[in-house]
């Protein structure tokens, strides 16, 4: 009997092990290697130079502030990443909430409207990038250029003059539907009785929305923000096809900087350090959000 139980416990491992092995080999092992690479002086373009241990040199290369008032590029790229991510998340949350309130109404064919708004979320980022770039933002062939010219205005190239606002706008366009998806599910979980009793009590629309409904769906909002953060932080394709990080490095984000460090500078060590810092910062941000979700969940239980 005893051996039978151990055999059963062993047998359970067989269900788990293949998944663990594949995930570990494709994600964990490479990540540990990235951490190791980040301590090496290793340039793919210079095979004549030996690969050698460099300690924290690669990190210092980015973090050091040699002549003070001048801020190194890393900090501005970091600031751009935070700016793009935070503004996108805030816009997604506010617009997503308001739109969900609208879509929670019972009007004929509301599902068609919901479906249309959901659409952009499922569009691959490179396709939405080139579509916006060619058919709308283009100053000669796009709607933006044509409409501005018809109004007697001179259309400036938005992608080179306002790269970050444009990227934030496109990210929001792509991700806001996801927030609507989650927040709307929360709103529809609010019982019809409660909504009716609010109406009978004569609660104004504003009070009903912001003082009663909003607190009831904060959990859904947090879930949307956390998942949104995980996905938006690593967004790469849209930046590549629209601004390509430019002009200069003005719309670089950390993932894009890592990519450029590998493929343009071929500097494996430095790219590794950049990647490790990016992962650390992402995990930190997600952890803070996740804890707040957990706490919330516990207080409900």
């Amino acid at each position: 009997m005893e051996t039978n139980v151990t055999a059963k416990k062993k047998r359970d491992w067989f269900f788990l092990l293949p998944a663990i092995v594949v995930v570990a080999v494709m994600t964990q092992v490479p990540f540990i290697l990235t951490i190791i690479y980040s301590t090496l002086r290793w340039n793919l373009a210079r095979p004549d130079l030996p690969v050698r241990f460099a300690g924290v040199d690669n990190y210092l290369y980015y973090l050091k502030v040699p002549n003070f008032p001048e801020i190194p590029e890393f900090y501005s790229i970091f600031a751009q990443t935070v700016l793009i991510t935070v503004v996108t998340l805030v816009l997604c949350t506010i617009i997503g909430f308001l739109l969900s309130i609208l879509l929670d109404n019972k009007i004929p064919g509301v599902n068609i409207a919901r479906t249309l708004i959901l659409g952009p979320f499922f569009v691959m980022s490179t396709a939405s990038g080139v579509i916006w770039k060619a058919t709308i933002l283009n100053t000669t062939f796009g709607w933006y250029g044509v409409v501005f010219k018809a109004l007697g205005l001179t259309p400036v190239d938005l992608l080179s003059y306002y790269p970050i606002p444009v990227i934030v706008f496109l990210f929001t366009w792509q991700w806001m539907p996801f927030f609507v998806l989650v927040i709307l599910a929360g709103l529809q979980g609010i019982s019809a009785d409660l909504v009716d009793s609010m109406r009978i009590d004569g609660a104004s629309w504003l009070r009903a929305t912001f003082q009663v409904k909003l607190p009831m769906i904060t959990h859904h909002i947090r879930v949307a923000v956390m998942l949104g953060l995980i996905f938006i932080v690593k967004e790469f394709g849209l930046i590549l096809v629209t601004t390509a990080g430019g002009p200069g490095t003005r719309s670089y984000t950390l993932p894009y900087a890592v990519y450029m460090e590998v493929f343009n500078a071929s500097n494996v060590g430095r790219a590794g350090a950049l990647a490790v810092m990016m992962v650390a910062l992402t995990l930190l941000a997600v952890n803070v959000l996740y804890r707040s979700i957990k706490k919330r969940g516990a207080s409900f239980a």
Binding site: T6, D12, F15, L16, P18, A19, V22, V23, M26, T27, P30, F31, T34, L99, L102, I107, I112, A113, I117, L118, G119, F121, F122, V123, M124, S125, T126, A127, G129, I131, W132, K133, A134, T135, I136, F141, W143, V146, W173, L181, V182, V223, M226, K234, F236, G237, V241, P255, V258, V262, A271, A275, V276, M278, V279, T282, V286, I293, K294, G297
Partner: protein, 289 residues
């Protein structure tokens, strides 16, 4: 008498106001929805233009199937389409093959040490947080060294590694909703673990499996970063093909529109079909996380 009449008037005017309000709401909601979706809509429509018609943006033209048929008969897109289909079918299939048993055992398995299940589950979840950038450098060098970028199996392996955790995460909450007594009863009746999974648990979590499979399909279909960096010309997928249009300045808007319509259609349609189960899986996974 007078008071009942005014009450009647009041209720009538309230009803009228509600009807007017609903009409206004309907108009506003539809206007927002159509404006929001218009870039995709315009792209779809532009595919029915010829290149010359597409140069200036307008909605006034005689539709033609010329561009769509040109794009579909162009062999350059075929390769990418075939690669994308391969990744979606083989990748998602393997993800389920590995992820479903893992999620099942994480819900019902018995391990010597207490807390093994929780720890393993948390480990899977943490890998979802890992951005692909974190693994790019080693994977890129391996793929170059072993020629893995020249076979679709290479990219597929990476996709499986990155999406199995998503399957585990979404399915875990569905499996924990299955009452443990059912599994125990099956165990007492002499079912092996495999039989418990296939005959007892699977039929009960069908929605979850469909939802996670479709989510993984949409993710893999749209994935760009790994597809861009870990492939060569012969193994690249559709998002990489779409990225190639980034340099041109309005020269081939009709072709671009037709190609992107074909590229995005499967994911958008699947996404629409599954919005309900998707939101259930996502919120359940995150709530119980």
């Amino acid at each position: 008498m007078a008071s009942t009449r005014s009450l009647k008037d009041l209720s009538r005017s309230m009803k009228l106001r509600r009807i007017l309000r609903n009409i206004a709401l309907t108009v506003v909601i539809y206007a927002i929805a159509i404006v929001y979706f218009s870039p995709v809509l315009y792209m779809f429509i532009s595919g029915f233009k010829t290149e010359i018609q597409a140069i200036s943006p307008s909605l006034h033209f005689t539709p033609t199937l010329e561009t769509y048929s040109k794009v579909l008969s162009d062999s350059s897109m075929y390769g990418f389409l075939r690669n994308s289909l391969f990744q979606v079918i083989a990748g998602t299939g393997l993800c389920l093959l590995l992820g479903v048993p893992a999620a099942f055992i994480l819900a019902f398995g018995k391990f010597r040490k207490k807390g093994t299940k929780e720890k393993t589950y948390t480990w899977f979840i943490t890998t979802i947080l890992l951005p692909p950038v974190a693994v790019l450098i080693p994977l890129y060098t391996w793929y170059q060294a072993f020629g893995l970028n020249k076979t679709p199996l290479g990219l597929m392996l990476a996709y499986v590694g990155f999406h199995v955790p998503i399957v585990v995460w979404m399915l875990h909450s569905f499996f924990t909703d299955v009452p443990g007594e059912i599994i125990e009863a099956a165990e007492i009746d002499g079912c092996t673990r495999f039989q418990q999974l296939v005959h007892v648990a699977l039929p009960l979590v069908r929605t979850g499996i469909v939802a996670s499979a479709l989510l993984v399909i949409v993710f893999i279909w749209n994935e760009f970063f790994l597809g861009f960096n870990l492939t060569s010309n012969t193994t690249a997928t559709l998002p990489v093909y779409m990225a190639r249009f980034r340099e041109q300045q309005g020269m081939f808007i009709a072709q671009l529109s037709a190609s992107s319509t074909i590229a995005i259609l499967p994911a958008v349609v699947l996404g629409w079909m599954t919005q309900k189960s998707l939101v259930k899986g996502l919120t359940m996974g995150a709530v119980k996380g």
